[in-house]
Symmetry: C2
Subunit: 509 residues, 2 copies
Amino acid sequence: MTLDIPLLIDSSSHRTLTGQICDQLLAMIRHGRLRGGDVLPASRDLCLQLGVSRNTVVAAYADLNAQGYLEAFGRGGTRIALATGTRREQVHGLPPVPCLHGGNIKPPAISEAARIARRVRHTLFDPMRNRLPLDFRVGLPDSRLFPREPWAKCIRDRLSASALGMTDYVDPAGVPELRSAISHLVRTHRGVACTSEQVIVTSGVQQGLDLVCRLLLDPGVSVLMENPTYGSAREAIRSHGATLAYCRIASDGIDTDALPASGARMIYVTPSHQFPMGNTMSLARRLALLEWARNTGTYIVEDDYDSDFRYRGAPLSALASLDNDELVIYLGTFSKTLGAGLRLGYMIVPPALLPAARALKDLADHGRSWLEQVALADFINLGHYESHVRKAKTAYRARCKLLVDGLSSLVPGSEITGADGGMHLTWILPLRLATADRLRERLSELGVVVYTLRHGPAAYEDPSNDLIDRVLLLGYPCLSEAKISSALKLIETALSDCEGNENPRVDEP
Amino acid sequence: MTLDIPLLIDSSSHRTLTGQICDQLLAMIRHGRLRGGDVLPASRDLCLQLGVSRNTVVAAYADLNAQGYLEAFGRGGTRIALATGTRREQVHGLPPVPCLHGGNIKPPAISEAARIARRVRHTLFDPMRNRLPLDFRVGLPDSRLFPREPWAKCIRDRLSASALGMTDYVDPAGVPELRSAISHLVRTHRGVACTSEQVIVTSGVQQGLDLVCRLLLDPGVSVLMENPTYGSAREAIRSHGATLAYCRIASDGIDTDALPASGARMIYVTPSHQFPMGNTMSLARRLALLEWARNTGTYIVEDDYDSDFRYRGAPLSALASLDNDELVIYLGTFSKTLGAGLRLGYMIVPPALLPAARALKDLADHGRSWLEQVALADFINLGHYESHVRKAKTAYRARCKLLVDGLSSLVPGSEITGADGGMHLTWILPLRLATADRLRERLSELGVVVYTLRHGPAAYEDPSNDLIDRVLLLGYPCLSEAKISSALKLIETALSDCEGNENPRVDEP
C-alpha cells in the first residue's frame, strides 16, 4: 500500500522546504511511523499534494537516499530502506528518539472510576475459550443450536434493502420495530405490561446495568445486592462509586426480613433464578420486597437474565409484573437465548425515568447499530425466535436432567439447586468432602472445567462462611449429552482422587 | 400466539387454588397484561404446568367465563373476551386498578448525571429525517454511495462460518483482526504509530468520548473545549459532572496563547477540521498545545471525526502522531466513511491508560457485537475500504466545490471556511445581511434545511459575539450535485426575500 504521508509545510519557518520534508520523514522513521519497505508517493504526486515544486521533493528524497534511509525499487519507485528494519531499535546509526521536552513526565490524574476499574478481574470474555473439551461454562448457549439459516436470512433481507439504516443515525433507544417486538415478548412471556416507548435496546444486560447506575447512582450512595451475586454487576456498580451492602438469600429468594430500614438508593436482584444459587423468589418475598422498596424509596433492578428457559413448574412472572409503583427497572437479554456475541439486550424503564434513561443512552453511544436490531425484530415477528427457544429448551432440559441425575448419584448428601430452569445449576458439596476449589483443580487436570464462588462469574462477600468451599457452578447448555456423560465419569474419578489424597474435613468436631 | 401465563400457586395461602388462578388472571386483565383476543393455554396444559388438578383450572376458566372475561372460540379454545378491549379504559365494569399500597409515592432520588441528561437537547438522531428534500445534514455520508455489494459479501461470508462469534463473548476491546486493521490504517493514513493492543473498538466516537470521560473525569474537575465546539461532546462531558471552560479558536486552530496555566484535567480538540468552523490546526499550534499539555499535566482528547476526506493540500498527520508523552487519546470513527448506523469507531489509548480503559469498556457493555466487527476487518483487509473512501472523496470533493463556488458568487464578502476537507463547510455571512437563523427559517419554508450555531450539532458559549448570527453550517455529502444546484437557487431566493423584508444590520454605526 502506498502511504499517505502526513507532512505539514510551515511557510513561516526558517528551515528550507526540502529540510522540512527531510526532518519530518526522518522523525517518522525514528518513531516507527514509517517502516522498512513502506512505499513513498512518487515525487510528482507529493509535490502537488504539498504545494511545493517537484525539485524540492526530489532533493529531499535524494538527501535521505544518500543517508541510507530510502532506496529505489521496481520501476522508479522509492521506499523506506529495508535495512532500517521495522522496529525502532533496528535503525542503525540513528540517535535515540528525542523526547520533545526531555525526560519523563508524571502522568496526569485519572478518575476514581478508572482506578476502580483497573483492579477489576471479572470478565466474561475468555481468551482461552474451548481450550479444554469439557467446559461447564456458565450462561452460554450452545453455538451448534444457533438458528443459523433463519438468522442469516433475516440479515440478508435487510442488507439488500435501503442502505439508509447503515448510513444514518438510529434512534438511540432502539429501532421502533424491535422495541415493539420486545414489548410484546415481555407481556406474553413475563407478564410485564409496558409500551414500546418504555423499552430501551441495550448492548446486553451489562449495558442496561451500566445505564441504571448512571441513572440512579452518585458517588457514595448505598446499593444493596444479594450475597452471593453476579460478579460483573458488582464491579459495574462499584465502578460508579457506590458503597455496596449485601443481603443474605434464603431458599425462597432474598431474605426480605433482613433488608435495612432505609438508606439504599437501589437494590439489584435476580428473582427468577438467583445468580449464582439458582433459587426462585417466592410470591410472598416478591410482594414483601416491593413493599419494602415503596416504604424506603428504593429502586429495584431486576436482572432477568435466563428466565426464558424454564423446565419445571409454571412460567414465572417477572417481579416487574407486580410493580404498581414504577419502582422496578427490568433488564432482559438475548445473550442466553441467541448469543452473547450479538450484544442485544433491553431495559424496561418506568415512565418517569424514561427521558433521562433515553438521554443517557444517547450520550453513551448514540444507540446500537442498525442491522442486527432490525434482523432481530424480523426474526421475532416471523416466529423464528419462539420456535428456537422451544427447541433449545428441549435440548437444555435433557442436559440438565442428565447432569442432575448423575451428580445426585455420585455424592449422596450433596444438594443441587437452580435446576428448575436457566442455564446452570449449583452443586453444593457436603462438608466432609474435598473443597470445591480442590475438586475444581483436580478436574481441570482431567480436562473438565467447573466453577466455584472463588473462580467464576459469581462474587461472594463472606469468605468465612463455609458455602464458599462447597459450591460448584456448572453450566450445561454448551455440552452435548455425550460430553456430559464423559464429564460425569471424570468427576467421579476426581472425587475419589480427592478423597484418597486429602485429609477430609468432617461434619462435626 | 398462545400465552405463557406466568401464574404462581401459593400453597400456604388460605385462598383456594381456583380462587388464586382467578385472582391472578383478573389482575392481569385489569393491568392490561392480558388483552382481548389473547389465547389461554388449554386447561390440560395449564394444570400440568401448575401442578394442580385439571378440575381446578376448568373451574377457574368457568368462573371467569361466567363473569364475561373469557370466551370460547374455535374448536374448544379459550381466550380473553374481545369485549374487554385491549386497553385498560375499555374494560367495562372493572374497578380501577388498585395500587398495591394505595395512593402515590414520591419517586426516589436519581443521579446528578440523570438530572443533567434529561435536559439535553442535542441528539444526532432525527426522527423527521428526509422530511425535506434538500437537507444539508452535517456529517452524514451519502447512502447511495454505500458499498453495498462488497459489504454484504463480507457479512454473508462471516455469517456462513462458525456461529461461535455470535454465541460467545467477544474481546471487550474489539476482535483482534479489526484492531490490527485499524492500527494499520491510522499508521499509514494518520501517521499514528500504535500497536493493535492500543486500539479499543467503540460504538462510534460518542462511546469513545464517553469512555474517555469515565477514564479521566470526576465530578467537579475542569475540562477545556474549543468555542464553538461539538454539541454532543459538550453534553457528554457535562453529564459526567465536569466543569467546562472554553478557549477561543483562531484561523489556525485553538488559541494556544489563551490556554490557562493550570487546573484542567483534559482538553477536547478537533485539530484536523475544527468542529464546526472547519479550520485546520497549524503545526506551530499543535506543538504549542502538546507542550502546554505536558507542562500542565493535561490529557488531550483528539476527535478526528472526518479527516478521511481531504480535498486540498497534504494529508494531515494527526495530533497524536506528534505526541511523545502519551498524553493524547485519539478518537476515530467509520461513521463518516461508511455510515453512522454501523456504530463503529475506535479509540487509541496511551499504554499507561490501557488497563483501565479496557476494563471500563468491559464494564460498560462487554464489548461490541461480533458480526460487523469481523466484516469490517475483512472489508479493510480486502482493500474495499480504501477504494470506497477514494470513490466517496471524489464525489464529495465535486459537491463541495460546487457549493463553495455557488455560495461565493451569491454573497460577495461572505467567507467560507472548512472546505479543504471533511463533510461540511462553514459559511460566514457579512454583518449587513440577515441573521443566519432568519435565513435558515426562510430556507426551511422553501424546502431547504441548513444549520446554524443555535440550531444544529454545534454548541457555542458566547451569544454576545456576533458570530452566532453569522454562521451557517452546510453538509454536502448527502446531496447530489443536481440537488446542490437546486438548493443554491433557493438560497438566492431566500437571500433576496430576507434582504427585502428586514431592516438590515449595518457593518458600521
